[in-house]
Amino acid sequence: MAYNFKKELEKPERFVGGHRLCAGCGAGITLRAVMRALEPGDKAVVTNATGCVEVSTFMYPYTSWTDSYIHTAFENAAATCSGVTACYEALKRRGKVTDNYKFITFGGDGGTYDIGFQSLSGAMERGHDMVYVCYDNEAYMNTGIQRSSSTPRFANATTAPVGREKQGKQQDKKDLTAIMVAHGIPYAAQTTFLGNFRDLHEKAKKAIYTEGPCFLNVLSPCPRGWQYDTALLPKITQLAVDTCLWPMYEVEDGVWHLTYEPKKKVPIEEYMRLQGRFKHCFQKGNEWMLEAAQQYVDEKWEALLAKCR
């Protein structure tokens, strides 16, 4: 059936309001959109790494989750979810569970690219029937905007600050989606919020309903860390895609496929200009930063196009 945004929004919410995420936060949008991709008849268990989402959506005694939910620690969400899925298999064999369950894990980039990387890699290799969703906001936002391996080069972070000798993060962003693809998992994809959310919805649905371990990387901007006017959130995600900085693609059984190609590739500085974390890149003498950022995007984009052809 063709995607109908209005119909999708008429479904009962599985991730409900009342949580404490910031206005203009991308993570909450990711959670709500991914959970919307579940078939209403299916049950789910959500696993969550420590982070903004955990402390904002399940603060005792309140929860925003209508499905069962578990958080244990920062670096082990994929392993915790492995235990839930393993138990599901064992209890199904004993006839103790008969309902159809889906298993979705949410982690930020700190809990996914960095401290939870080993646990994620293990779970993907073992092949549990689960989907791991990274809400990638490109720094340790919950502890106050420290750099992660997902933080882009030049971005200002509290542990990679702008100073006299060094200005922002010195290294490029880790390409985690490609690393997940290298695990040989049946489905991996990158997406973000665009227009009527069709891309995110369809990828979430595929990730949830493809048997085996699947990975979804969702660029989820953070108004505090990226320093943007909250009303600009949709514009920022649109620019992330139209600059080709955050390409929308999916890899099914090893086959790379671009799901959105911008009609006109927008210069990266238009994306960076809206965000305070890149403010120093626009100072006199730092023109080379914008050039280097553009060169990085161009190289990555060409390499991706080659894979998708």
Partner: protein, 395 residues
């Protein structure tokens, strides 16, 4: 009907696991507990159990798998030693505070560094305040028996705490001994089926586990957890009573060996009790009033009962198989001396750190300790309260 077999301590634990047939095992190899997941993997491969074996990439993940499985509504197990237990520390606290009745077999081993694969208790002692029930064994029979009792203790409604079943790495984990095994059906009946009240996979009632707990609630939850550990005392004794009715083998918080009229006593844990009992028997044959207390349950610590057992002694040596680095003695000594404090007249107490990294302790070493206690009793002079035995002055 019970039957006899010859098993290593690790295999005895694996057999108990097979008989219980838990839902999920998180498994990662580390010496000297590695045999446990090896034996169990064979049971899985041979279709002898229903268990999902999750062969994770670290011990941190094996305990995380256990937590996911326990929250989901199943019985979860793992096995580890030394650095593996240390890597689990964070998750041990989470498992206990989330009140998950997980059972972890620990073949105890020294902690690095320098790296050493042999036995002492520094790994398990490091986890003593993580909120887990800790039960120690002298020999292979005891570790098997303790394991069979673990789930009923852990799952007791007013307890719901994880249990660590500890045995001495290599000394019992690898030594083969004659052992009396229960029939599979007897174990299954003793352990029963697990029917949790609240669990993630309950279709009628979703459950949220592991909240952000702010200052307004955290302390109430911690006190509830502390009460659960106090409640574990009765649960441990209740399961020991059921187990005795089934097997005739009697268990309690500790074993008081020839303590009725003992004037000099040792307090210790684990396999060294066997060596020490031989020394006690020799000294008793010489007419000396000596005994020992072998601690079985370290958490919850049987403070009042231990004080009662030691109250008529004149001198007590507490033997710690771990170095606490407190500069004033090991953890078993700290607990025991605290227990003695409430007595009207208390024995003199010294602390002996011994057997680190697999350093052997022989019957003569133990006899020498009783001689030292005899001197203390005779002179009233304790001498150095905290010292090491079996150690050269120069490395």
């Amino acid at each position: 009907m019970a039957h006899l077999d010859r098993l290593s301590g690790n295999e005895a634990v694996a057999v108990a696991m097979r008989q219980i047939d838990p839902d999920v095992m998180g498994a990662f190899p580390i010496t000297p507990s590695t045999e446990i997941p090896q034996y169990f993997a064979q049971y899985v491969a041979d279709g002898l159990v229903n268990t999902e074996l999750v062969t994770v990439e670290s011990e941190h993940s094996s305990m995380s798998v256990c937590m996911g499985a326990a929250a989901a509504g199943g019985r979860a197990i793992s096995a580890t030693s030394s650095a593996g237990l240390a890597l689990m520390y964070e998750t041990l606290y989470v498992a206990a505070s989330c009140r998950m009745p997980i059972v972890l077999a620990v073949s105890t081993r020294a902690l690095s560094g320098p790296i050493n694969i042999n036995n002492d208790h520094s790994d398990a002692m490091g986890a003593r305040d993580s909120g887990w029930i800790q039960i120690y064994a002298e020999n292979n029979q005891e570790v098997y028996d303790n394991y069979v009792q673990a789930f009923p203790i852990a799952e007791t409604e007013n307890v719901r705490l994880p249990v660590m079943i500890c045995q001495d790495g290599f000394i019992t984990s690898h030594a083969v001994e004659n052992i009396e095994l229960l029939e599979d059906a007897e174990v299954k009946s003793f352990v029963g089926t697990y029917e949790p009240k609240h669990y993630l996979l309950n279709p009628d009632e979703p459950l949220a586990v592991g909240p952000y707990d702010v200052t307004h609630y955290y302390m109430e939850h911690k006190r509830q957890q502390a009460e659960a550990m106090r409640n574990a005392r009765a649960a441990i004794l209740a399961q020991a009573e059921r187990f005795e009715a089934l097997t005739g083998r009697k268990y309690g918080f500790f074993e008081a060996y020839k303590m009725d009229d003992a004037e000099l006593a040792l307090v210790l844990m684990g396999s060294t009790a066997g060596t020490a009992k031989a020394a006690v028997d020799m000294l008793r044959a010489e007419g000396r009033k000596v005994g020992l207390v072998k601690i079985r349950v370290f958490r919850p610590f049987p403070m009042e009962e231990l004080a009662e057992a030691l109250k008529n002694c004149r001198a007590v040596a507490v033997m710690d198989k771990s170095e606490g680095f407190s500069a004033c003695g090991g953890p078993l000594f700290a607990e025991t001396r605290s227990a003695l404090y409430d007595l009207e007249t208390r024995p003199k107490a010294i602390n002996i750190v011994y057997g680190l990294g697999g350093r052997d302790v022989a019957v003569d070493d133990v006899r020498a300790l009783y001689d030292r206690l005899a001197d203390i009793a005779a002179t009233g002079e304790t001498g150095p309260v905290y010292s090491h035995i079996g150690v050269r002055e120069e490395a």
